[in-house]
Amino acid sequence: MRRVGIALALFALALSGGGWSHGLAQLAMVATWALAGLGLVLIVGQTGQLSLGHGAMMAVGAYVQACLVSIGMPSPLALLPAMAAGGLLGLLASLPGRRLGGLAFGMSTLAMALIVEELLVRLVPWTGGAAGRVVPPFVIGPWTLGSPGGQAALSVAMLVLAWLVCRRLIHSRLGRAWRASREDESAAAAIGVSAGAVRQQAFAAGGVLGALAGALSAHWLGYLSPEQFGIGLSFELLMMVFVGGVRAPAGAVLGGLVMVALPQLIATLRGAVPALGSGAAGLELLLFGAVLVLIVLARPAGLAGGGR
């Protein structure tokens, strides 16, 4: 019951502060964050590996989507290659995981993210370089999703779909193998589960979800530039799932709500206390840090709690 209460309160806070269209735009953001978070729930929650490069998966999805749509591919169709590209990057990024574990592996994902960020700046013909590039709106058949309502509907639909797939994966043989490799690598190896191989599968699945989130957010934002996908995004995503609860898919959604609700809270506070004005950016970081510390101490399993 308490969990539902927390979720409802966050939900109200995240969508408040404006009219209908503002609320719907916020909802689209929540769903997009949650989609990316689901990928991390698979990687970090299920296999216990730290991924410091999830932002790169979003980046690849976003840029592949933007490139394909701008050469005339229908947007729903372009989602498929974008997701495939994310999955491929996940496979590549987790190659070192066949030899490394724990922190060293986490560092290699960080290296991967930094390399992708640099490539986004350098591959000017496709990415537009540091100047960025414009993304046309999402078009399904006769409808153009230019308004927040359509965007929110599509994001939420995708989130529900991804949630079902994740639940299925977590309860499948593969999910059990992920958790076995998390709990004890040698014991898992003894029953025929190769930690390196199942880690790669988790990264591939996580990469697909990250890329899907990236592709959708590319349309919602309408504009892409490399600094949106810097190393900070990877850390934000990681923080988001730990606040929400990394072991359960619900954690990704709660985390997404927090990510949208906190800045909204600050914007509201700013309206009430004008003296805050200049320090708002710092206040946001300070609050995020404090929330993370409090949740780790008071609810170690995150807001969602439980999970496997």
């Binding site: 930094l114 950016a281 710092g282 946001e284 840090g289």
Partner: protein
């Protein structure tokens, strides 16, 4: 030209090495990877700026005081927050340092004077010193000397003082150390405080080389590879790894195409991780 670039690479590398040293120190004593060392460095630099520009202290007095303040800050953060992670999974403490780092950066960013103007810390040294044919920046030379002194002091601390030996014993085996009458919880405090102080040293040394701003903690992203390359469990390895990272960065800026500078370090780190998973100077402590 080559020697100049090499020297500035070594000086930057010393700063990376000091931050890497603070990572390794904390990691060995508490088995926690601290994600807040970069932010502690930034706070240290701002503490020095505050004392010099705000209170008008002489630089040579302000720097040690700033480092001492960071030592106290480290002890305070341990006592209030990090101690509660004892006995919980490793990830708990890692996340706490991450949250504390965010809060520190946010706290500093909220101060208008910190963000609205650029700060410099000038050492009372000549800008350029000529050694034979070499033109050496005074600040670079100061970094080299100070890093050497800090390392010597740390080595002496770990070898000759009771607290240093106790800290080593505790990171080797806390249970046996406790049986010998060492308080592991005090050593936990000491390790975090020392780690913060080392980050503070790196901060006040970096301040004369670059501008002081709330984002300067990002330098930790260079110190991480340095610590990994050195092997996460070796203190001399951390310094050596830092210098290596600094030199490679400087030389690839000189010889390789634009953009390679940022990637060369991470390429090297991946290579080292894959070929020597224990790092170049470590033995069997990679987790």
């Amino acid at each position: 030209m080559f020697a100049q670039v090499l020297l500035s690479g070594i000086a930057n590398g010393c700063v990376y090495g000091l931050v890497a040293l603070s990572f390794v120190l904390v990691f060995k004593a508490t088995e926690t990877v601290s994600f807040m060392q970069g932010e502690l460095l930034m706070v240290g630099a701002f503490a020095a700026v505050l004392l010099v520009e705000g209170a008008g202290w002489p630089v040579l007095l302000a720097l040690p005081v700033a480092v001492l303040a960071l030592f106290a800050l480290g002890a305070l953060l341990e006592a209030v927050v990090l101690r509660r992670a004892l006995g919980r999974p490793h990830l708990t403490a890692v996340l706490l340092t991450f949250g504390l780092g965010l809060a520190l950066r946010g706290g500093v960013t909220m101060v208008p004077a910190a963000t609205h103007q650029l700060h410099r810390l000038d050492l009372p040294l000549p800008g350029v010193i000529a050694i034979g044919p070499l033109q050496v920046a005074g600040a670079h030379l100061a970094v080299l000397v100070a890093t050497g002194l800090a390392c010597a002091a740390l080595a002496a601390f770990f070898r000759f003082t009771r607290a240093g030996v106790a800290l080593r014993a505790c990171s080797e085996d806390p249970r046996v150390a406790a049986l010998m009458g060492i308080s592991p919880s005090r050593m936990h405090t000491l390790a975090w405080a020392l780690g913060a102080a080392l980050a503070g040293v790196a901060g006040v040394l970096l301040a004369p080389l670059t501008l002081v701003h709330p984002g300067m903690g990002l330098i930790a992203l260079k110190a991480f590879p340095a610590a990994v390359i050195g092997g996460l469990s070796s203190l001399p390895g951390a310094i050596a790894g830092g210098v290596l990272v600094g030199v490679i960065e400087a030389l690839s800026g000189l010889y390789l195409p634009e953009g390679a500078k940022e990637l060369a370090v991470y390429g090297l780190m991946l290579l080292v991780l894959l070929m020597f998973p224990q790092g170049l100077g470590g033995r069997g402590a990679t987790r």
